[in-house]
């Protein structure tokens, strides 16, 4: 009964995601009908929208899966993809790159390196010998993020560099695709990362009931943790360098899906991908069309839509208990 119910839920999710994608393609700041859009002269618009939708799907599912993994491994429901310092590291590196006058072309690379180096710093701060405790990892992540954030704000406010205003989009995220090659590289990294994480579903189930419990089930917890931290950092760092920091998706979609399909990662990871992709496509659509031709940063939309959904969910759960 339970599995049949589950199948229905996932089928529904799939149908909704296809509808959202079609809607995302057909609507935009330029108002043209779907049949016209397929016309050869309108190809550039079609490609533009398609590339945005691909980025929305990749970013949504990547962030949400990274969030799912960190929530399970850290057994902390507040964990989100940027917890290990990727966002502040990427932001700081980007600001530095602009200040020292690096070509705009290298900005994503700088952000990526900044994110990865920060994760390494956080990880080593939290490490005791060969082991990394969950509590110290969370603490180290929070402290490094605050410190780097402060340095970044200091640099922005003192430098007076005009180019730095462009950094705003980084802090609230954007799905604008400037570079198709970069989109391709990021997509491959994220998809490969998600597939690799999926092979750890069983380990994630065991670790989410406790680290020692997992050892008793034959899982080399410390090694698995290291691998999973590495993959999630790679996913978030690649995403940060192409679309900046998009909050909320990685925090709430895993929560929502856990209450819809349950905590078993064999089911949770694929359905989180579907739900997050759908959510992002819809958010992107709203950010493009609500105040068109103005575009609202995607992070604002995810927060505005995400918060009420989350509150409703929280309240309905409390009623049951």
């Amino acid at each position: 009964m339970k599995s049949e119910n589950l199948r229905k839920k996932i089928l529904w999710l799939f149908i909704i995601s296809v509808l959202a994608i079609l809607l995302g393609i057909s609507k935009g700041s330029v108002n043209i009908s779907f049949s016209e859009l397929l016309h050869i002269q309108n190809r550039p618009i079609l490609y533009l929208r398609l590339s945005r939708i691909i980025l929305a799907i990749v970013a949504g599912s990547g962030l949400a899966v990274a969030g799912t993994v960190l929530q399970a491994v850290l057994r902390n429901s507040l964990a989100e993809p940027y917890l290990l310092g990727t966002s502040s590291g990427a932001g700081l590196a980007a600001v530095l790159a602009i200040i020292i006058g690096l070509d705009k072309l290298y900005l994503p690379l700088a952000a990526f390196l900044g994110a990865i180096l920060t994760v390494i710093l956080v990880y080593n701060l939290a490490r005791h010998g060969n082991k990394v405790s969950v509590q110290s990892l969370i603490l180290a992540g929070v402290i490094v993020s605050i410190a780097f954030g402060a340095i970044m704000v200091f640099l922005i406010s003192t430098s007076g560099n005009e180019a730095l205003h462009g950094i705003m989009w980084w802090l609230w995220g954007s799905l604008q695709v400037y570079d198709l090659k970069l989109l391709l590289m990021v997509s491959i990294t994220v998809i490969a990362g998600i597939m690799a994480i999926f092979t750890f579903s069983q380990d994630l189930n065991a670790i989410s009931i406790g680290e020692e419990e997992a050892i008793h089930l034959g899982i080399k917890t410390e090694t698995v943790k290291k691998i999973l931290f590495f993959i999630t950092s790679l996913i978030t760092a690649s995403l940060v360098c192409i679309c900046g920091i998009i909050g909320f998706v990685g925090l709430i979609i895993p929560h929502i899906m856990r209450s819809v399909v349950g905590p078993n990662h064999k089911v949770l990871i694929p359905s989180t991908c579907l739900a997050a992709a759908t959510f992002m496509v819809i958010c992107d659509l709203l950010s493009r069309t609500l105040f068109s031709p103005l575009e609202i940063p995607i992070g604002v939309i995810t927060a505005v839509i995400g918060t009420p959904i989350f509150i409703i969910l929280l309240k309905s759960k409390q009623k049951v208990r």
Partner: protein, 262 residues
Amino acid sequence: MDALLKIGNLSGGYGKEFIIKDIFFEIKRGDFLGIIGPNGSGKSTLLRLMSRVLTPEKGKIALEEKDINNMDLKEFCRKVAFVPQDTLINFSFSVEEIVLMGRIPHLKRLQFETKTDFLIAQNALSLTDTLYLKEKDIDELSAGERQRVIIAKALTQEPILLLLDEPTSHLDIGHQIQILDLLRKLNREKNLTIVMVLHDLNLASEYCNRIILLNEGRIFKEGNPYEVLTYQNIETVYKTIVVVNKNPISLKPYVVLVSGEK
């Protein structure tokens, strides 16, 4: 009788200071062994060394003549299962999902559970009287129900040795007896070897055929309940006055506490 587990010159703990100091003993197949001792005597540490959560600093633990720390971890977990004091699970896994996790040591990465795995889980649930909870979420259960489910998960591993760390310390007397009766049944009917850390001396006396009394990381006394649970041993190790009587039904030693004030 052949030894299932041999522990020789074992020392270990956390960091530099050894909590377990140069311990050796053997566990025979079919034993129901209790480990008792005051707080800080190293009971839990010993169990964590035996379950590979900790690696020994010195000495060796051999399961069926093989050094456990050289065994593949999954192979080890197909033979030895562990039940902790209490398992707090934040995620709403169903009881069936939790019990099926006991099959992880038997499965390869990405391999889905087969009918046999479901059947084994089903058997473990009915053995522990928890089949009716199958569809429930683990975080909805009472402490007693949850502990029986965790034991079912351990049984699903199909171990030959079951280690338990104070499995009844959070339970009322009714549930304590229920769990221990279940363990006795598994020990007698399935010939499952059991090693259990216990605080309650009278429960240890009642259920264990052998008892190890630990003191400051060393074995103070080892033997059957009559040999270990004497007032001299207990007063020396626990530094408190007791009277040892007989349980009128089982005739096993029964420890009565005496207040220091008169």
